[in-house]
Amino acid sequence: MSNQSVRGSRSSVRDRADDRESASAVRLADVRHEYGSTGGRFRSGGDRTVTALRGVSVDVPRGTIVGLEGPSGSGKSTILHAVAGLLVPTEGRVEVDGTDLTALSDAERTRLRRRHIGIVFQRFYLLPSLSARANVALPLVQAGVPRADRRDRAESLLEAVGLGDRATHLPGELSGGERQRVAIARALSTDPDVIVADEPTGELDTATGRRVLELLTDVGRDRAVIVASHDEATLSVADRIVALRDGRVDDVR
């Protein structure tokens, strides 16, 4: 991995919270979330509420990969969204590097997410008309990083994920595995402390999925990584697996 290239400017995109000592990069404490309730960002419509999480507590130290396992509707994605600050749980605390996301405003959460959290989606979500390099550099645009620096960073990240020779290719010209690697490079572009990945191999065949998992394992050496998946092979890279059922932690192993 040539993550050194992005490490260099890490201090410039870091919050003051970064300096705080925290045993866990991510900590969820007694998190409860109801969709359709006033505390949630998502409303399911009508007056009925759906309880997605019930008293969930999870710690993810830096350098650890935690797998979230469970059937559909068990709360995996809700945990990822809560960690990413995409939703505010109805109750409980969600800390990232010691900062309680539930106490932040929308804008503050967005800023923290931009600087400290990388997101990998099952369906990649690359802009089809931009090259792999431009897609990777996109989050740096928001940070106001100059063009030449964006380019260098994106190229070194693509090199790091084994796509150095694909920098100018469009997503449509890349295989599924290559696209997911571009998406991972994009997630790493702001050098985040935490990576959340929702079914990162869900659209990939086994061999391709394995290569993406190796990459995630590599990424997880100095970051906190949370991976949600149904897939045994994907979860096998995790240092710890949290099994969820009906919004509760069923088992930790």
Binding site: L86, Y125, L138
Partner: protein, 410 residues
Amino acid sequence: MSVRGAIVRLRAVAGLALAQLRRAPGRTTLTVLAVTLAVLSVTVLGSLGVGVVDKGERGLDNAGQDIWISREPVDPSAGGTANPISGAHARSAELSARDDVDAASPIAMYDVYVGTEPADLQRHPAVGVQETHDGFDFEAGDGFEVDPETAATPPPDDPQREEIVIDPRVADDLGVSVGDTIHVGTSRETAATHEFTVIGISGYYSQYLGSPAVTVPLGDLQAVAGTEGTDRATFITADVADDADRETVAADLDAAYPEYDVRTSDDQIQSVLEERSIVLASGITLVGLAVLGGVVLTANLFALVAHQQREQLAALRAIGLSRGLLAGVIGTQGLLIGLFGGLLGLAATPPAVIGLNRLSASVLGFEDLLRTPPAVYAGGFTLALAVGTVVALVAGWRAGRYARIEHLEA
């Protein structure tokens, strides 16, 4: 950092928008064409409007006439005008005698048959006037001028001067030039008995009548038409004295001659334009549709782009990109299309105007009908900016709406 960061973001947004436009050449071409057509239709209609008004004003200025007196709304393109003013010479002499009028002269209009042989005649509008003037811009030969004494007396029973100025196309058709004689009459029978000498070639009145016209001394035309007895004319034009106010004189004349319509030359242009109001309204409607079509097509296409990319936009929003930045990337594409299409429309204006001027010169006989003062270009460019802004706002707004986490599949 914040100003520098903002500049970096602005440049990046423009770069990303350009990259997206480059990657979709079909869509880009279509939208650019739509805006180009909208702008071109505005500049061409603007040029036409400026040209028509300018031509009308110059025509009336060349005629040196400030006030136009008629009996009822006159359609100058209708050849068979009824020449409703009777006793035209006497009335003109009466007007000329006023202190506030330098000179007044009648104008009659008839359809006449002209030809080199009585058996081979063509029908053309004829204008009867007391004199030709500088505006005639003769291609060959010269004009005529009736002496003041003759101009003040009722017309004779027979043509006296037997001179005619003909349109260049009539000259070509008949194969005649200055010095040749042609038959002229308001019917085939009268044409056989009257021969006029071609003294000049000019298309001056053709511009206003919309077809190749001939010009003859008023008395001769009345004699040929057989209206010398009632001394009929279509208009009486009056040249106001230097120290008199045109509007005041027109008002005085209107009061003195309630049976006539008295108009200043400005009113006359306005009245002609009003008679053409359906044509004007059609032109404006077509331009309106072209503009609306351009805006709707372009805005819709980019709103569709935003819709197609709604999941990606939502994902990028989730990653932390601001809604403004994402809306900017899509909206800037609309703005760029508006600007580029607008510039193309402006660039296409001169050749379009040249082409249409050639067409109008050859088909209608109007030289340089379309005019392109800077205001026409400024109007076109303003429209392009407006289209670009509207498209940018609509597309950006749609993109902003799609850039929400809710659009991500959980």
